[in-house]
């Protein structure tokens, strides 16, 4: 079972994501340039500042050639995970609805927050219970989720209004559930020494899914 970690110019949480995947026993590999992603069992897009987030976060990265490969794998229903900048890229690619706008404060914010699990029927959330509250860190300047004209499939909600996101949305999935994107950083909460380990089960859920142990209703 091999997981791709897509590295765009300017991504900076790729190594953190790689470590979290390896920590739960998954094999991971960095993908720097366009190549066939068929050999991977899951695809992950890390946080960071792809292309410096110079126009809009994720705008340029979303139009990279590798995007075609990611869309092809999405079409096959392969599990795809986008964290922070990864969420912004997936939205700019049109694989998920809505947009991520600047935080109301106009400032970058890095702190631990609390989210609630709304939907655990995805390859990444089977080990969480609906309604369960998790402590995860956020670190972003553009974390305010705004719904476009399509109603998203909500997976995580903030338990209080931290950035005026519509419906307190912190994470959404594609309608078929295989693509998950969230603004908080689970890869920064995979060991107690870092301040919390509520993010660990997200990676463990993926491992279980890939091992086919846990049949996940579509």
């Amino acid at each position: 079972m091999k997981v791709a970690v897509i590295v765009f110019p300017g991504s900076n949480c790729d190594r953190d994501l790689y470590h979290a995947l390896r920590y739960v026993g998954l094999e991971a590999e960095y993908v720097y340039k366009r190549r066939d992603l068929d050999e991977f069992d899951a695809i992950t897009i890390p946080g960071g500042f792809s292309y410096g987030d110079y126009l809009r976060p994720g705008a340029v990265a979303a139009r990279e050639e590798i995007g075609e490969e990611i869309k092809r794998e999405a079409g096959k229903g392969k599990p795809i995970l986008g964290i922070c900048n990864g969420f912004q890229i997936l939205v700019e690619m049109g694989l998920l609805p809505g947009a991520l706008l600047q935080n109301p404060s106009g400032k970058f914010t890095c702190k631990w927050i609390e989210i609630e699990v709304v939907d655990n029927q995805t390859p990444f959330t089977s080990l969480y219970k609906p309604g369960e509250r998790l402590r995860l860190p956020i670190a972003n300047g553009f974390g305010r989720y705004v719904k476009g004209n399509l109603e998203p499939r909500v997976v995580f909600r903030y338990t209080e209004d931290i950035n005026e996101s519509d419906d307190l949305i912190a994470g959404i999935a594609s309608q078929d559930g295989n693509i998950l994107a969230l603004m908080p950083h689970p890869e920064r909460a995979y060991q107690r020494i870092l301040g919390g380990e509520d993010g660990l089960r997200l990676f463990q859920s993926l491992k279980l899914f890939l091992e086919g142990k846990r049949s996940v209703s579509k």
Partner: protein, 86 residues
């Protein structure tokens, strides 16, 4: 009438669609009202991109700018834009 290839300069004014709230604009408006005492009724902050394009005429140059907006510069989900000549 073919004109030789030269640079044409435009400004693209990109703003959030009106139904999208702009908290930062509201904060700045409040500072101008309350702290500076200026009669500002509303304020919204968007992007202004100055772009120079190489083309054989103004229409062709405008088409390139429109193409750049469609492909990259504007996010149609939340933004609208206007192009003016510089």
């Amino acid at each position: 009438m073919s004109t030789e290839r030269r640079g044409y300069r435009f400004a693209i004014d990109i703003q959030y669609k009106s139904h999208i709230r702009d908290p930062r604009g509201e904060t700045i408006r409040r500072v101008l009202n309350e702290k500076e005492g200026l009669p500002v009724k509303s304020l919204r902050v968007g992007k202004s991109i100055h772009i120079e394009v190489e083309a054989n005429g103004e229409e062709e140059a405008l088409r390139v700018v429109e193409e750049a907006c469609k492909r990259l510069l504007v996010n149609p989900v939340v933004e609208r834009y206007e192009v003016r000549k510089l």
